[in-house]
């Protein structure tokens, strides 16, 4: 099993406005994407990988001259890996509103000549899927072999199956949910308040002030991190470990290892992530709810789907619990769709979807092996 090696992002410009769910439009936008492997002659071996909250189009491989620049799903995507780039043409797209190259709050608003900032239109999972579909049009891909995603990426994969049922053979939705629970929205709201109340946020127009709301972003990331790990995983990794061997009897210095870890994660994140993007993406999570247009009936929502489904959850994931995945499975069963469901007893919480548990990767490999036979690659 190898790496796809060095990769280079590409950009595609779109002149035709993208109608958004909010009623607004996104004009003259760019999408940044990466591809790995080779598109076959009948363009049937393409797999779209959708990213979650803080990730990007950089799914696999490395960037020249950058240490530790492996893509976020490098353990899954590559030659001989479960999503084998010797058989599939894999596409990672940075969603609009993000901060990794596609048009987002840091881009220039053509109407003002200034950075969009807080004025960037609110984007939804459905808007992202529509933008991705337009990129597929440009690449000449009529039907994807699969759309794959975890967490918020899983929501995009589900949305593909509803908005473009004929354009994918298989939807692979990992560690995701048919909508966010009140508790989940609550976590997002705490993160957003941390950012918005940072004095350096300046109503979202901090670029013009030459500052960054780092404190808010740090706290937002700390909150997020707590919810991505299971209680057990945190206990095993940090326990009540003390940083300096004994209590320092300080209320503000780092005492426990877990504090040190969270602060480190927060610091790192605040250096590279855009505050407005964090607000937009958490809102996209909150809004996702395909059953809403069907009186809250998820079974009716999934009547639109026709592809095959693989749903995966992890037993210790309390942010996107197995019960939420089972709701998706039930809706598919009610509609007599082809669906398989794996509930992996992994200890790592929500983060498990990014790790390489052999049972989990075994199931995904089996899905892709079958697809490879079907599309003759």
């Amino acid at each position: 099993m190898g790496s796809v090696g060095q990769v280079t992002p590409q950009a595609m410009q779109f002149a035709e406005p993208l109608p958004l769910k909010s009623g607004a439009q996104l004009r003259d936008y760019a999408l940044v994407y990466e591809t790995y492997g080779t598109l076959n002659a009948d363009k049937s071996n393409a797999v779209l990988v959708c990213h979650a909250l803080n990730a990007s189009h950089h799914v696999a491989g490395t960037y020249a001259g950058e240490a530790k620049s492996e893509g976020w799903w490098d353990n899954l995507v590559g030659p001989g890996k479960p999503l084998d780039t010797e058989r599939f043409f894999v596409i990672g797209v940075n969603n609009p509103g993000s901060c990794f190259g596609s048009t987002g709050p840091m881009s220039i608003n053509p109407a003002t000549g200034q950075a969009w900032g807080a004025d960037f239109p609110v984007v939804t999972v459905e808007d992202w899927v529509d933008a991705q579909a337009r990129l597929m049009d440009r690449l000449g891909i009529v039907q994807l072999a699969a759309v794959l995603g975890g967490s918020l990426g899983g929501m995009q994969a589900l949305s593909w199956s509803l908005r473009y049922p004929q354009r994918l053979r298989q939807c692979i939705a990992v560690a995701t949910a048919p909508n966010l629970s009140a508790q989940n929205i609550a976590f997002n709201e705490v993160a957003r308040r941390a950012i918005v109340t940072d004095p350096e946020f300046h109503g979202g127009h901090f670029y013009a002030h030459g500052v960054l709301p780092r404190r808010g972003l740090r706290v937002a990331r700390m909150i997020g991190h707590i919810t991505y790990l299971s209680d057990d995983a945190m206990e095993r990794k940090f326990g009540r470990g003390i940083r300096n061997g004994d209590f320092g009897y300080s209320t503000q210095e780092v005492e426990f290892e877990i504090e040190s870890y969270l602060r480190h994660q927060g610091d790192k994140f605040s250096e590279y992530f855009d505050a407005n993007t964090y607000l937009l993406i958490t809102r996209a999570l909150d809004y996702f709810d395909p059953a809403r247009e069907h009186g809250g009936d998820l079974t009716r929502a999934f009547a639109a789907a026709s592809c095959r489904f693989q749903v995966v959850s992890f037993t210790t994931d309390w942010r996107f619990s197995p019960a939420r995945s089972r709701e998706i499975v039930k809706a598919l069963l009610d509609n007599r769709r082809d669906v398989s469901y794996a509930e992996i007893a992994a200890p790592h919480g929500h983060d498990a979807f990014l790790l390489d548990d052999p049972r989990y990767h075994g199931v995904l490999k089996a899905c892709f092996d079958r697809l490879a036979v079907e599309v003759g690659t």
């Binding site: 693989q310 089972r326 499975v329 039930k330 069963l333 009610d334 007599r336 082809d338 669906v339 398989s340 469901y341 794996a342 509930e343 992996i344 007893a345 049972r359 075994g362 199931v363 089996a366 899905c367 092996d369 079958r370």
Partner: protein, 194 residues
């Protein structure tokens, strides 16, 4: 039940084109057989990771669930046939699962080791628990936590208001219709809600 001939005997009871739910489907062999030879569709339910993987590799739809938690995910009468083969004896909630089988399926088919098969009776008569090909475990390590007989099932079916449509034993890959409670190591019942 993985015996080829046993699978065919059960498969013959499933109407062509039926929508099937196979509870405790193992590696998905029967569902694959039903799809290939009888145009059936459906899903398996399994708890074991290795079986979930085997089904996925085989291209059989499989749902990873603990049957002890019931079948809440499945609507009433949503399958033509619900199979519960060589599974019932491993479940603590045997009776509940039997009722669930009859709720979800228009027809239920169960198979289980028949404790009253004559070699077992002989063994018990000598004062020991049976250890045979069909019941290869010692009493202290058997996964068969609910051992019953062909005749016992008839009583339970009556109690739970199930109408038996067909019943027979299986011994050495052959259907046994004469004295199945004595002559067969495996009991098979096909039933519907009465």
């Amino acid at each position: 039940m993985s015996d080829r001939r046993d699978i065919e005997l059960i498969a013959e009871m499933v109407p062509p084109g039926a929508r099937v739910l196979d509870l405790g489907c193992g590696s998905g062999e029967l569902l694959a057989h039903l799809a290939a030879h009888r145009r059936c569709s459906g899903y398996g339910v399994e708890i074991a990771d290795e079986n979930v993987l085997a089904c996925t590799q085989r291209g059989v739809n499989v749902i990873q669930l603990n049957l002890e938690e019931g079948l809440a995910m499945f609507e009433d009468q949503s399958f033509d046939v619900v199979l519960q083969l060589d599974t019932m004896q491993h479940l603590r909630n045997t009776e509940k699962m039997l009722r669930e089988t009859a709720r979800v399926g228009r027809v239920g088919i169960v198979s289980f080791p028949n404790f009253a098969h004559w070699p077992n009776r002989v063994r018990v008569a000598t004062g020991r628990m049976p250890v045979t090909k069909a019941l290869p475990y010692e009493w202290y390590n058997t996964p068969n936590i609910r051992v019953g007989t062909y005749a016992d099932f008839e009583v339970l079916a009556r109690k739970d208001g199930l109408r038996i449509l067909d019943a027979f034993g299986i011994q050495n890959g052959e259907a046994v219709r004469r004295w199945p409670n004595l002559m067969a190591s495996v009991a098979v019942f096909k039933f519907e809600r009465g």
